[in-house]
Subunit: 414 residues, 3 copies
């Protein structure tokens, strides 16, 4: 009997793993679609690198760091000091099926490994079109290899945030905000793309070169979220998984509709990019409590996330931060909203929970801001963060890769 | 024991739900690929809107309307008169797992909700490049919110067509023709795109701007049909689901080959668009009886569907109807063919069944034609259906959205 | 009890089937992305034809040929002489669920049918931009209809290679090399594209027209490999399937990183195409023994495969063979490497196994080289293999299909 339960659960988890893997194509499409053609190969290179190195790092370091046996001083996963030691990347007896009722050790590793790379992907969108490839790759190694798993260990690895009652079902904070905090630091240290703000500091739109691609990316991401949230149930429990898929989809739908309606009312325009980011905002917003909400709760969380997106994109612009894909509004701001929403809606709602959630947001935020700043500032002062002015103007594809993405098409250079 | 059966069934249904969701990207790709670049954002906007509003409407209205407890006068789902009342969108005790052996209440809602939006997507393709966005959105709300679930209730909700023995496994009639009937009304009321027919009434081809995208759309749709038909078994029963996938794939393959060969014989040309529409015709054709057919039956149904596509596309042209993507031939004509094929091939074949199928086609057809005409004619006479001539010539992207889809590429305007 | 086990296994196998189907879109994207825009429709036509005819042929001939009851002279599947007889394409009692513990007869057919078409797809990439469509289609029918299933029967159908202990888990040899051997014959008989080598015999790069598409293809192929290798377990056994997914993904990741690093060291360039082909090389390399390896083994196999790709692409160039997508390096050379790796790494490693693997490679290679040469040489001497010089220069889309793939875009002809 147990064998069949494990098999069914494991099948579900493996499919969810495949769907989360596929999100990396969605993120790539979104980032490329919303930027200029001259940086296409560079963006692809970053994203292909992220998934490859992310998996390898998670195998070598991250998995053990994120799910340690115990903590030193309650904060540092004990595996940390084994990092350069002789400890094996995988535990002995990995094929021991008594490991878990929901999935095997290998499924656990692969599902969590697919998550790990996501944090770097979020940063990738925000720093697009001006970051040095080598610097970005170095930062990815450090952030995905060390910061992401340590932050995750505090909740998902059974650390102090978990003990305090902090709740983050599938990672509004632990994945999306972790990426979002680094994104805001990186955008601040990099500065805006040439031409994003004019001499008076006014925003100049830099249109993405393929809106179709951005929309396809959002469809793929929504599909991937079936696995991202559905798999975070960590079993195929019918009630929990199916409710999670319903709340996830309804929040996506209402987030999109809200962003479309609000932006249409304010800007008198049917803005597809806003619609798409509203969907993503709804998805990020529901992620912290997708298993706790009723459908009505989910629709409300999505509607608010959609409104936040419209305000958030404009707010980031007003801060003179240049985030080409809206990653900060989507992943950081809606990630915070989703985490707090666990204290406002659903079966855990309450003032104590709300404060615990806020605490978790602040602690993870502080840790991410500090580490991201430490890494990025050091990189900036040593090998440099930003490509030369000429390279930025001509495009990173030509300089870093010596190739054009679309050699058969006649292009407008801008 | 029951728990494991339910879990396995539910896993299958959730995956099928994800695949049907993904079909919306397939439909978008197909429609965009077969039309001009100047309307890309508009088409994306329509399709993103359809999936979002479709899910929300199905949550608020459609699900209860389509699966009512009982009918008034045998035709009107009793929920209809609760629509503006106080009844909850979801039944009490939704998490009661005794609901069904095949899946949970939430899975049922989400799977059926993904179907609901499809009907509007079919219309979207037929009216592309000239319909007003606001008018299309209004029509979508009415058609997906009311017409689709009422028509569906007559068979899938246990209504009179079901009692008469009408058979429609996964929706050749209930989904594809329901969309197709509205498409033909809309195309008739809209009139052809400027330039589609010259002064003598001869057809002028308006080539799609990205055939690659159309082909990718068909691949995605075929993949999605694994869920569309496979999930319509409503359990993971190994024999029924696997036979369904086999008949579905063989009909797709033979539909494609037939359309390719027939069109090559007639037009002396390897016509990729015809090949692709043949695949879709085979898929729509097998949908009504995918669980009843042998592989040989499926191949024959597909071959006939492929031939119908070549004849159908030319027939629609001769009627001076302008259907940019061939939606009427694919979804309406092959939908009718598939529904009738249940009386000709497979385990239910027989004259009585054939007449019952024909009856069902006519009743659903009449209902859809009347309601679609009522809605679309009213919209035409009030807020208008069609964009201005200038807007159509310059493209809907510029006028309705103030954006270009491909700003970095140099384009031919036509 | 057995019922639930079968159901769960069957669900997994059906999902894997869907993922392998989707690989055909990945192969299409890769091939189109790495070639010129003027042959886009032609490439799509080939690939859509391959999946359609592949499934139909596998239904009519291949399935019975590949899994025969017995062999004549130990080599010829007994079904071979029934080919033009009266034997039914499908066995009686196909719905008899005692067929297998892992899946139904129909699932078996469809999963294996999706594999069958892959061999032809591999050839398609190597012969792109210059082969006659009719000739390619004829070759596909012969190779997929006869050669692939006979070669497969020797191992997977219980033939002599299986009895000798040859191991090929998911087809490094039986699928990838079978395609690769035909590719090298076809490339040799066709000759290089006009302009690939200059008068001095030096390589002239012919850049692909859409690198984004190539990258998307690789993401889709990686996703599909979850099904390709995961389904080759032939059940949902949790330990075996999840380990297989882990080894598959780690080999892909390390193959990509190795190809990127090696090519960066040699060519002082961040070469995305090499990175992508490294991922594919890692995937092909792990395929023969994905269920036998530890994660560390998988990483090592991938690293070596990545290095092989960089050397292999350059080696094929030096042989003056023109393989536009690198199919020979990826599928043939890494296919051989993966097959041999079963004798070097993992639980079957040993000198006897290594020689058995080498034997299998040589026997299958000889059979494929001979049959591919027989078919292709006959075609060359009768109806011809290669399009005219004018047709090649103007593009196959215009001549064979009378259409442009991207009529709204302004293009550079080259």
């Amino acid at each position: 009997m147990e064998g069949v339960t494990l098999t069914t659960n494991n099948v579900w988890m493996m499919i969810c793993t495949a769907l989360v893997f596929f999100m990396h194509l969605g993120f790539s499409f979104l980032e490329i679609g919303l930027t200029r053609q001259k940086n296409t190969i560079n963006i692809l290179f970053k994203n292909v690198f992220i998934i490859c190195i992310g998996l390898l790092l998670y195998c070598l370091v991250g998995f053990n760091l994120m799910y340690p046996g115990s903590f030193i001083a309650g904060v540092i996963p004990d595996y940390f000091f084994n990092l350069f030691g002789l400890s094996a990347p995988f535990k002995e007896g990995a094929l021991d099926l008594s490991y878990n009722e929901g999935y095997t050790y290998w499924t656990d590793f692969l599902f969590q490994g697919m998550f790990a790379a996501t944090a770097a992907t979020i940063v990738s969108g925000a720093v697009a079109e001006r970051i040095k490839l080598g610097s970005f790759m170095l930062f990815t190694v450090l952030y995905v290899g060390i910061v992401y798993p340590i932050a995750g260990s505090w909740k998902w690895g059974g650390g102090f945030l978990d003990k305090w009652g902090f709740y983050d079902f599938a990672g509004s904070t632990l994945v999306h905000s972790v990426g979002g905090w680094a994104a805001i630091v990186a955008v601040f240290l990099l500065g805006p793309r040439i031409g994003k703000f004019n001499d008076k500091g006014e925003v100049q739109a830099i249109p993405g070169h393929n809106i179709l691609l951005a929309a396809a990316g959002v469809f793929i991401l929504w599909l991937g979220w079936f696995g991202f949230n559905g798999g975070s149930v960590l079993s195929a429990d019918p009630a929990a998984t199916s409710l999670t898929l319903v709340t996830t989809s309804l929040a996506a739908a209402s987030g999109g509709i809200a962003a479309f309606v609000v932006s249409a009312l304010i800007y008198k325009n049917y803005d597809l990019t806003m619609f798409l980011n509203g969907i993503l905002g709804g998805l990020v917003g529901i992620t912290a409590g997708a298993d706790l909400m009723t459908p009505t709760d989910a629709i409300l969380i999505g509607l608010i996330a959609g409104g936040i997106i419209v305000a958030g994109v404009s707010f980031i612009d007003r801060l003179r931060l240049d985030d080409p894909v809206g990653a900060i509004a989507v992943h950081l701001i809606c990630g915070i909203w989703g985490t707090l929403a666990v204290g406002v809606f659903g079966s855990k709602a309450g003032l104590t929970q709300l404060f615990t959630q806020l605490f978790g947001v602040l602690i993870i935020g502080t840790f991410c801001l500090l580490t991201a700043f430490l890494f990025l500032y050091t990189i900036k002062k040593t090998i440099g963060l930003r490509v030369s002015k000429q390279e930025e103007l001509q495009g990173l594809d030509k300089h870093e890769h010596g190739m054009d993405a679309y050699p058969d098409f006649r292009l407008n250079q801008h």
